[in-house]
Symmetry: D3
Subunit: 334 residues, 6 copies
């Protein structure tokens, strides 16, 4: 997906240029994993033009495999991002209708081949929101992965501006999540997708505390018995420039809470959830049997994302581990 | 329409920002006319979001009226422009499908109100190429204008990458042009739309001379008896950085040829035809009964356009007249 | 007025380019009102050159009417703005002497025509500070408006670097304010113009609280019985990057206090007072008989201004209302 | 003087930033001489603010001495420069009225001290054009230098947009030039200042040949017997992007003609005459008794100036000599 | 290698930023081949820091394989490039001493593994110029490739500023070229490396014609019997902005000449020879038994390079073929 | 030294340009002193190329004398700076090996001449860290200055990434510091160079309080009896964007503590220590016999440095004094 954003804090109408980056839920996770040293393949469909090519280059640049990327369709999905500041929130204008990916159909991808050597498959709630075709292909993929023994993770990732193709999110997501082993969401996703609301919370006032969200995890786990691991990211939105950031992890009945980071001033918060997911997949695979450490890695990784321009979380394992160990002093390394 | 172009001569994949301007056939003509001091209204449909608002601001900035602009639909049409250089041609990637304008329908505009105080209506061949709806609305407008005694002009403006909605260009344009009083085209438009080819010409070799194109005017005039004025712009494409530029004007049986400008190095050639049309409408209305002068104004105005960044021809009547009088020396005014 | 500022936090001597915007007291209020959907005309005098034209385009862009703008004189006033940070304050260098507006004289504007359809006239203390001619024209305008039943508002807006043409500010302003219905000022204006000081305050230490300023309002009201509405903006200057922002409103004997916003990091504080005035005029006209709401709108609007680059407050009524309702969380809208 | 120019070929109204450089006739010559290794002092008056300071830094940066620079007055003179292209000429808007230099008076500079160690004094026709005060100070300086045996050179440099303070250019310049040893001008200066026109020339058509200008030199020499050396720069203005460039030198009755350089595409032609003067002063002092070589150095130096952004000619003696020897191939040095 | 260049035509001292790209002889060829669709691996050594990583990303971005890249040593080689214009040549300042590659030694690369699946190996004369270690490793590679039946090509690429480590270029290159099958050079390389000068040529005057260079090819072929294919690129250096560009190809006794392209204005000529080599390797492998077509492809590809910013030739096979067919008109593709 | 940094908060791999500034320990102090109005000469060795020239211009620009700068050697030292944000620290990559200065030898500078008119000599621990030659020259200078009665100050300035040429820092510094009158260091320098650690401190947790560092001063004073004045800067590293900043001064047995500034958000913290040293030298020379005021000046000056882009502290005495008096409100000066 092409991201176009006015430089700095300019409003759309003030900009005589837009900064160009590429990103989007699953690709953001893929770049995180590639940065952490895991072998990663990104599966999508891109138009056969130079904008599609530029997107592809952007993924290859960070070491993400592109063997399974299909070329076709009419256009690359676009989103316009206006960066907010203080009490003015960032604004996203989606322009994704009829993108090459939104117009995929059931024969577009050969999932058997794709999953042949795969150990983990990740998708986000944005994919099925785009179109009936995209939802169908997503279901194909999830089923194939599940049957082939590939671990399946999802980010519920609800976007009100996108779910417009007919079926309600709740119904579509129900079947998809039923095939998953791992799920994450932010403070609102479970409520907006499945109506599971954390008690006594109001995200616009910043009171998002870990204990309120244990309930969300447990309710999700009951509803989707396949889910062995559930995480909820917890963003305290003090202002567009100042957030707190944490998460909880539920695994097989136990709930783990992580540190809360205070982030001010935020450089770029888009892709925060994806960077958490990238950190969590790395953490679960690296700190096997240590869910606390996996959670801590994911939170630290995604806290750092807020200091990086663009959707991608361009940090190394070393940098995440330094922060996990408690050094957030930002002293110059020289 | 939103125009996104890599800075300078960068290729799409090299750009970390895109220059943002707004433009498109009819709006370019409108801005030319407003710059020349004529009262002008632009009629279109823009999405109800801040990108649509930015487009509107861009028109208002140059004094174009926006009273009749409708808000609605999903998106602003986009085109990506990569600037060429020397033997590498510029490249346009259209991303206009399902734009707010492409999804207009017959009730969108109230043409009686729009033309109530109007003396001239201009449209281009790009409009009906976008969709059946756009073609229908265009026909509505052309008929209403014609019936209300408004002079109607068109730019044939053939774009192979756009005409895809079903009806062939030739058929749609036939009916539209039949209601017109004035038509212009470039060296290729008449051939590509109506199969009327200038003999012995090859646009990629630069041999486009005035005498070959008199035939095109006469053939068009026979086919469309309503056309009292026809002009053909003549671009000698020596390279992407170096063109010659001229035009011929046919009016009621007589053919006028204008000076040939040598343009090197070109700053921005997009909108060249529109700036010619803007100059011609101004010229025909100002130098009444002096078609040679009208043509000379139009050629000089559009030659100057090649020195202006963006789609819009931001030159004044004074500047055009100075060039018409033969001063293309580019001496500093101080 | 042309505003030239080094990019980001660069000092003047470091800059190889200056960011270009246009602004100034009254025009900033006009743009606010146009953004809020009110019909607005800006009255000034601009030089007949392309810098003057660019200024005009900048106003038209945001929908401000320019019918009454005169062209003439020698130059557009300039101010250079160096953006401060933390404990380094922003620095303004005025270069306004002999601007086209400063050289106006009593015949420049036809106030009868200008106020024929007007309901409200706003001016600021910067105008009479520029020259005897500007002060004279300002007085002409204020009297004409007052006589024609147009509501007159002013922003006391004292600028020590400007008042240099002879008459002291206190004397000139006395007569002007006597014709006004509404007046605003910041924490220092009433003191610097009329010697009315809020007790126990020190603006460089940030202790500017509402109760101290009620006295200022009441004293002003006694001195200028025409004033029915008085407001004082209250900026707590913690640092150049961090302010608190609030205001009080006095109306016919009652004092209203508004919420205090904490703004960190500030994007651009220039034009803060003007954006308050724009919000207040909108508020008083929209929330008739609800001065508290009018005040709250004005404070919220001007708090948001601190997040917008340039002099103009480019926010919508919706955005202001969202903040008024308490949502300053800056969550991404998507 | 502060020079503000839209980036690239943008028009004034299109620019959201202006490139910032400093320059002006005499300072440009000073920088040339400092670059060529001569000890140079620049004498002017700059305002006591950070814009004046930035101007000073800009001179010091290139090694120009600033010991005699006075601080005072209200503002730094400004000129706005819009870069032309092809048949659209560059446009200069002067905003110099009431600059710190324009408001100098007879006591501002101590010419005895300034010329104590000086061998050469250079001034341009722009200085006396600014104000009566500037003209008076210029005359003071010229007389003092002449009396103290300092060689005095001038560039006639006529600017129609500037001479507005009362006395006609011809009268003021008469007395000034009478005290000079060396004078230069462009194709038009002698005509515009003293009515001495080269026969059969039309600068807007590019026919400026050396033989026509011998007459101008001889007529000047007769009128001003003190002038031992006169040079005329010859610019063939094919377009704003394409010029030819040459000059003739007259010395004690003999006329020397130099090579003609073909310059395409021009990077920045402002300061071309000043760079010629800088080259000529260096040449006359270095190639003593070889006026042909002095001329050739000056032409080569100023031809190279057209490839340098800004007013200053940032080339070295080595680079000029390489071009003098005929190598204008532009091969990469590596 | 890191390339740092002032924006546009700025001189080094004027720049407040440097454009950052990555490039260098062999990598430029690798990117060309990857763009043309051939599988390519780049072999080098990069420092284990984020500048080295950025270089690696730059290669991966364009699809060049980086499996064999070693990490180690102290620094990435740098070159500073100042872009010339018209008669001011571009200037290169090398800062490559002690780069990670210059400090390689004989055990750094496992050539057996590297060439296991390779069909072609390319190196340039820059590599052995850097240090004794680099020359040794280059010889290792050339011998290994030759023995394993891999076609070996070289670009003589003489850089006077580099050859400083002890052994003369002629001696070192003698042994290296003796193991090659294909060699290219520019108009001067054969002379500067082996003393083989084309008769009657002067590169600074632009007279470089094909017939003079047949002699160079034949003399090289006699001296290095292994060379079956030799090509010489022919640059006519009219100015830094204007070159002609062609080449001759000698193959097994026959000489082929190609078209001459006129390139004005040049966007970026650095990497021109590398882009020729990339085109030639592609051409020789694609148009087997048609050396004329291989030559034409190489010339067209490298002519297009002059229109692309940076060292890399980012053009596609389609674009090259369009130019080969004679369409250099630069018409907009839309 | 050339400093290259990605714009804003971009990571190295994201940047398509690097901001270019010049700086380095001693030059930063020199620029501070020149800004404060003291006559200053900078002594170094720069390469004889245009990058060296640009560095020289950068110093001259701010009024630093360059009479004693030598030209020679191969390259200008470089450091790459990636700006951190929040919990991501800034990153420095040094590329200084074999710089023109690192390759100095004992005959490079004529210290007798240099110190002939000097009253104060300052050096930093970075100089002897570069190479044996640099350490030797530094010792030469320190001894010469000491013998000639010039006050000698040093900044211990330990850089782990630099000390690699053989001798340990402790040994080399021992002899150097023994010749000094004044020494400063940050919270860690005394520990890293001489093993003198403040008790109960942890710099990555931000607990750096004045009382812990009195011990460091006293221990240093005992070890180096020549030291009459010692200062320690105290940075509380809350995050990369948020620091506290203070210092203590020890003079002849008495310890002075200064105010603590809270700095958020930091613009550029590089050169903070140097700006403290510049402020201290100015303060000790200006507020003779008032060490408290000298300390306060140094802290205020260096707190302000954190708001200035680049290595140099471009603030005036007035600005520092305003902050010393307690006005850190950052109100706009207008």
């Amino acid at each position: 997906m092409l991201r176009l954003s006015p430089p700095g804090q300019l409003r759309f109408g003030q900009a005589s240029s837009f900064d160009v980056t590429y990103g989007g839920g699953e690709s953001n996770v893929a770049v995180s994993l590639a940065n952490f040293g895991l072998e990663t393949e990104f599966v999508t469909r891109l138009p056969q033009n130079d904008i599609g090519e530029a997107c592809l280059q952007s993924l290859r640049r960070y070491g993400v495999g592109t063997r399974f990327v299909q070329r076709g369709g009419n256009r690359l999905g676009i989103y316009f991002l206006e960066n907010g500041a203080v009490m003015r929130g960032s604004q996203v204008i989606y322009d994704r209708a009829d993108s090459s990916f939104a117009t995929v159909s059931s024969k577009t991808f050969d999932w058997q081949a794709i999953f042949a050597d795969a150990a983990w498959f990740h998708w986000t709630g944005i994919t099925p929101s785009l179109s009936a075709g995209a939802a169908g292909v997503c279901l194909e993929a999830v089923r194939a992965a599940h049957e082939m023994g590939v671990t399946v993770s999802c980010d519920l990732n609800y976007r009100a501006k996108l779910w417009k193709w007919g079926s309600p999110a709740s119904k579509v997501m129900e079947e998809l999540v039923a095939n998953c082993d791992v799920a994450i969401g932010n403070e609102e996703d479970a409520e907006k997708v499945f109506g599971i609301k954390a008690p006594d919370t109001d995200v616009t006032q910043g009171n998002v505390t870990a204990d309120h969200y244990q309930y969300v995890c447990e309710t999700l786990a009951k509803r989707f018995p396949g889910l062995k691991t559930i995480a909820i990211t917890l963003r305290g939105s003090i202002s567009a420039s100042h957030n707190t950031w944490s998460a909880i992890l539920w695994q097989s009945g136990k709930t783990f809470t992580g540190p809360i980071y205070d982030i001010m001033p935020i450089v770029d918060r888009v892709g925060g959830g994806d960077s958490f997911m990238g950190g969590l997949i790395y953490g679960l695979n690296t700190y096997v049997n240590d869910p606390q450490k996996a959670l801590n890695f994911a939170i630290a990784a995604s806290a750092l994302k807020h200091t990086i321009f663009g959707d991608f979380n361009l940090v190394s394992v070393n940098e995440v581990e330094k922060l996990m160990k408690g050094d957030g002093s930002g002293r110059v390394s020289r």
